[in-house]
Amino acid sequence: MTTATVSPVETSRSLKSRILGAPSAGPLLVLIGFCLIFALSNPRFLATHNLSIILQQTVIIGVLAIGQTLVILTAGIDLAVGAICVLGTIVAGKLVNLGYDPVLSMGFAILLCTAAGLAAGGLVSGLRLPPFIVTLGILGILTAALRLISEGGAFPVRDPFLAWTGNTMKLGGFVLTYGVLIMFALYAVVWYLLNQTKWGRHVYAIGNNTEAARLVGIPVRRHLLSVYLLAGLIYGIAAWLALGRIPNADPNAMQSANLDSITAVVIGGTSLFGGRGGLIGTLIGALIVGVLRNGLTLAGIDPLWQDLVTGILVIIAVALDQMSRRKS
């Protein structure tokens, strides 16, 4: 007795169009392309030893880029990424060297980084200042303050807990530092938050159309605050990972971390205009930068070429984003 009615709404997009349409499909092809080129030109590139070095070199920028992705998805930008991370290394290092408990010191340092993120978020959401200016200001303040605290110089940090993330474990001939595992775990957790929860959905909605988000009842300011807070927490964890790689607290470190993290995010296909992109792309973007550095070094090419190629990739990524936005 039932009559077949033609449903006005199609059921679902095909699997093929979903895979090809995924925002991280392009960056993944670029990553595979570079790997192929380097593997063919130098057999040492694919050695497990070399691959695990690439991962270790990617850890810090990779983790900082998680926070950067969150901020950029809300149509912001974070120029205090590196400075907040250095805040973590200096504070933890100073406290431990003064004889405080290493776990509490690191915890306090991470808390301070979170507070720095919260401050940025408060200025952006409360006073409605542009994120670019707010984080530029925080970058300046922190950089100067940290040089004053550490009297200008770097100092060694020798503590097994602070260096713990540099420890290694073997996974079938593959050497992984705990830092690499923590990086992947952070990607998994934040990916879940962004893609499987209301919180993440609202991050995208705010970056897409703040006014629409407000109209449907999303507490936009509170949400922005939570984004910057989480970003600060992630930069604090990155500080711990940084001490695991190099047991040294240096106020002049991470000068290029801001641009490197933005590079990873942009190459990974996240739009600087907000609301588009995602974390898988950022991981691929960070790996592209890592693979490029490593491959060109193995090939004995002047390091300046690394920056040149990275620069070209950034411009291509932004151009592609602009073109796809204009089309729609």
Binding site: S12, A212, I218, S328
Partner: protein
Amino acid sequence: MSAETTPLQATETKPHIVLEARNVVKTYGHVTALDGVDFELRAGEILAVVGDNGAGKSTLIKALTGALHPTSGEILLDGVPIHFKGPLDARHAGIETVYQDLAVAPALDIASNLFLGRELRAPGLLGSLFRRLDKKRMREEARRAMNELKFRLPAIDNPVESLSGGQRQGVAVARAALFARKLVIMDEPTAALGVRETGQVLELIRSIRDRGLPVVLISHNMPNVFDIADRIHIMRLGRRAAVVSPKTHTMNDVVAIMTGAATA
């Protein structure tokens, strides 16, 4: 059987009033935006609100949706006096509003936009502890709702930016219809659309009415108003000048009342 029941019919046919305003005044200093306006939305109707610029249309709508507080007067929802502190209160009371600018998140898919701000969580521990979204159920319910409204759309997991302007506004209108329990207010919903797309959205508004949800439609476009409204509320100088039916009055009549050249 008995003839005694007949007098009752007169009261039975009296329509239920969903939203009502009585003698609402709103002044800003010396300026009187609303000068004792009355308003009445009946169950199951599309009520158009028309008026010249400055006649008080927007102010009236803002008072009805809690976006501003009347200086004096009463607003009743289902016969109960209400005092909205803000638009969120109105929404909690079951009143949804659609605006002329397309209030959608373009990069999110249709289902996500329909459920934006009211996402469904997965059942059990996954939802309560891990806060996991129930994307499948949201897609299914979104598809069902759009089918019920007979609104033609591409796949429900397509981003909204791949839709035409009319389809995008259709998503915003459908979202309001999906969550409104009492009524939907539409503020110039077709102002940004072309002729054909306007037709799609008007059709959607009609099918929302046919499903039993009353609609308040604010519009400048007389042909549209005469196309779908059941009654027309005409504002003039901060008051209700008249309520007329498109069946008994012409567009010229309505314009004459709007401008004060005639009275109802």
